[in-house]
Symmetry: C2
Subunit: 222 residues, 2 copies
Amino acid sequence: MSRVLYDLAGADESIRFSPFCWRTKLALAHKNLAFETTPWHFTEKDKIAFSGQSKVPVLVDGEKVVSDSHTIAEYLETTYPNEASLFGEPPARPLTTFIKAWTETVLHPALVPVLLADIHALLTPEDQAYFRQTRKGYYKRSLEDFAAHRAEAITLLNTAMKPLKSTLEKQPFLAGLAPNYADHIVFGALKWATTVSSTTLLEPNGVLERWMNAVLETYGLA
Amino acid sequence: MSRVLYDLAGADESIRFSPFCWRTKLALAHKNLAFETTPWHFTEKDKIAFSGQSKVPVLVDGEKVVSDSHTIAEYLETTYPNEASLFGEPPARPLTTFIKAWTETVLHPALVPVLLADIHALLTPEDQAYFRQTRKGYYKRSLEDFAAHRAEAITLLNTAMKPLKSTLEKQPFLAGLAPNYADHIVFGALKWATTVSSTTLLEPNGVLERWMNAVLETYGLA
């Protein structure tokens, strides 16, 4: 059976640079499936018209034509179940490491400029003095400066939260049908935010607010 | 047995806002373990001196004192193995959704401004005209404008890659000891970048370059 992948190429056809085609090439390799590639250029729409698509990757697997890298991955996982799983066990725990790293290197730093002055307002007088001094030490900016730029910080925060929103539009929890520690890590960040923020940060009844409530409901904490 | 969590509080002690304490509270709930909280203020270092820590969360679980939210999660997973797993099956696949969302909403958008003019240079003349026109349509910026701001775009890219670097400093692959589709998705993005970039984007022999080589070696593609 022949297996051919249409693969985006430069003028020099040895240059193959599409990130989506690369996903598919690795998925085929992971499944130990032999394949050939056909170099394809952006304007060669006619060459892949048979697929009903105007973009690559397009995989021709014997009689079957499949396009879109994620659809191809799902197709390979289903069609070749005896080969190594593309999504499978036991990587839940290592993938949680990425959620943690994202939370701590992106989400928390995006929240800090939004929340810092608000947190200060909530503290005991002793803690206020401590907080002002230590945060000035960490961030080299005053609380007043953070407060003055809060609107811009909220814009950046909304950008930072995109992968989270996108994921939770597709599935109820980061961990799937029920929350686990990956959800807990991110929930902590947003609970921090919504607890201390002087303004509404999450769209009321939007995907993030509904997810937070669902986490709490799971544990009888709502 | 008593189980007490020291929990960061505002002047109003009902306000509990630490993202790390929230992680721990949810982890305890996930494990169905009863606990009480003790409100704690930033400056009350003396109250938790027994833990050897100056920060919360600090969990006192009977005779055992554990601090740092991630250490606590590992402790709970090990100590209470018969309760629901904090990291466990089957969420590998749903967690991959987040990796995909991050790649497409953060990493790809961070790469586009760096790569666009470089990609153009690699294309056939027909594709160059197509590419210039369609990208101007998508991004409302010319290739020349992208090229002129490439240095700033690289700075932003390095910020965007932080969670990736941080994860791969801790483990060989996103999926753990061997790559899976989560690795493939992100690899695709960086392979795209390194294939087309006119300058070196990844630190030579740095964690990202070594990870990319290891992915290829896994599949005999190096």
